[in-house]
């Protein structure tokens, strides 16, 4: 009986062992996410990358000791939006996480399109009502 239990344990560990590399690979593929929060001052439509919204926050909380004001980008194609869905509405608080350094807002400046810099691309965000 003990021999059977030992074999079962070994089989179970093999199953688990085979599955772990896949989960580690998935975890390694994930981009670095950082938390943020802030109050929306105003949004700007990304005219050359339609659908995306560049949103200016004052204050913008990134976890440091200094008061910061600045922009983040919301993308309906990659940002998971949670209630209450008031994305980019002035005066609404936002809380979520973001991928730092990603520039996902292109905007028309006279006859050219340029990347409108932001702190990063929101990965998840929820808002107050």
């Amino acid at each position: 009986m003990k021999k059977k239990q030992f074999i079962t344990l070994v089989v179970s560990l093999i199953f688990i062992g085979l599955s772990l590399p896949a989960s580690f690979a998935q975890a390694q593929a994930l981009p670095k996410l950082l938390p943020f929060g802030g109050l929306v001052s105003y949004p700007i439509t990304c005219t050359c990358s339609p659908g995306n919204i560049w949103i200016w926050f004052t204050p913008l909380y990134l976890g440091g000791p200094i008061n910061i004001t600045g922009p983040m980008v919301y993308s309906p194609f990659s940002t998971i939006l949670y209630g209450y869905y008031m994305i980019g509405v002035p005066g609404k608080w936002h809380l979520g996480d973001y991928v730092p350094g990603v520039q996902a807002c292109w905007i028309k400046v006279y006859k050219f399109c340029v990347p409108l810099p932001a702190v990063g691309l929101m990965s998840k965000v929820g808002t107050n009502y």
Binding site: T45, W56, P76, C113
Partner: protein
Amino acid sequence: MRFLSASVLLSMIFALGVLVTPAGAEMFVANLTVGSRGSDVTALQQFLVAKGYLQMPAGVSYGYFGPLTKMAVARWQVANGISPAVGYFGPISQGVMAKQMPTSSTSSLGLSKSIETDTPTAPGMRVNRIMLFRATPFEVRPGDFVTLDGSGFSKTLNRIYFNGGNQIATTSTDGAILKIPVPLDLAEGEYKISVSNVLGSSDSPDINIVIKVTNNPQSAPTIESASIIGDIVTLVGSGFTSTNRLFTTLGDSSSPISSNGATLTFRVTDLSRYDQVKQFTLGKYQVTLWIFVENEHGINKEPYKLETII
């Protein structure tokens, strides 16, 4: 024996739980029409945005079924042969939409995995569309190389057009950048560039990406350094002309700014969105000001970053 079965079963469940990816299909549980609110409406709007039928205006929140959503649903219904196409999201529409949800062999937007692999999407962009954002430098000679920034470029075949003609074929390694030679037979003048591949064409009625072919190309503005004293910002660089226009993350300049060619000066308080931000910050917040300078020869490719307090 019972212990054996339970252990094997548990380990298989664990393994499957790790290996299987959630389908992510969204289900609608109610009929939706003008006035509807909630997460179902948000899911519908996100689907319509992803499909290109709806563009949510900046500052308008998701979750309310208004006239814009109704029109977008109607357009989607027409495109999918649903009658009457009046913008009411009922059982028939929900059934059709359910068929457009992800399966194991297609992406969330119905593309085959091979096409999706061939046309990588830039972060935050639509996965089923080829988009062209920029061509640099702006002024070029025939035979010079131009770099195109975009999304959805193919790793195997993209066709580049200059004013709809002079086609050349090229490939991209990452889906976001193409490097192309300007055809030698192009006469002087401005040319609209478009890119097409298996996803379609980058042509858009609202966006024209142009280059200027000339035998005497001038460099676009470049900012090498910047300083701020009080509210006066001084940029040092090259390529400035007598009529430069500013664009920054705090807005643009109200009128052109002249330069001696090497320096350019402006007041940060004159930027169009300065007051809008200052009313909240009251001089106590750190801000990163990103600066572009545009003139008849182009615009600086990389914005200059200047830290200040506002």
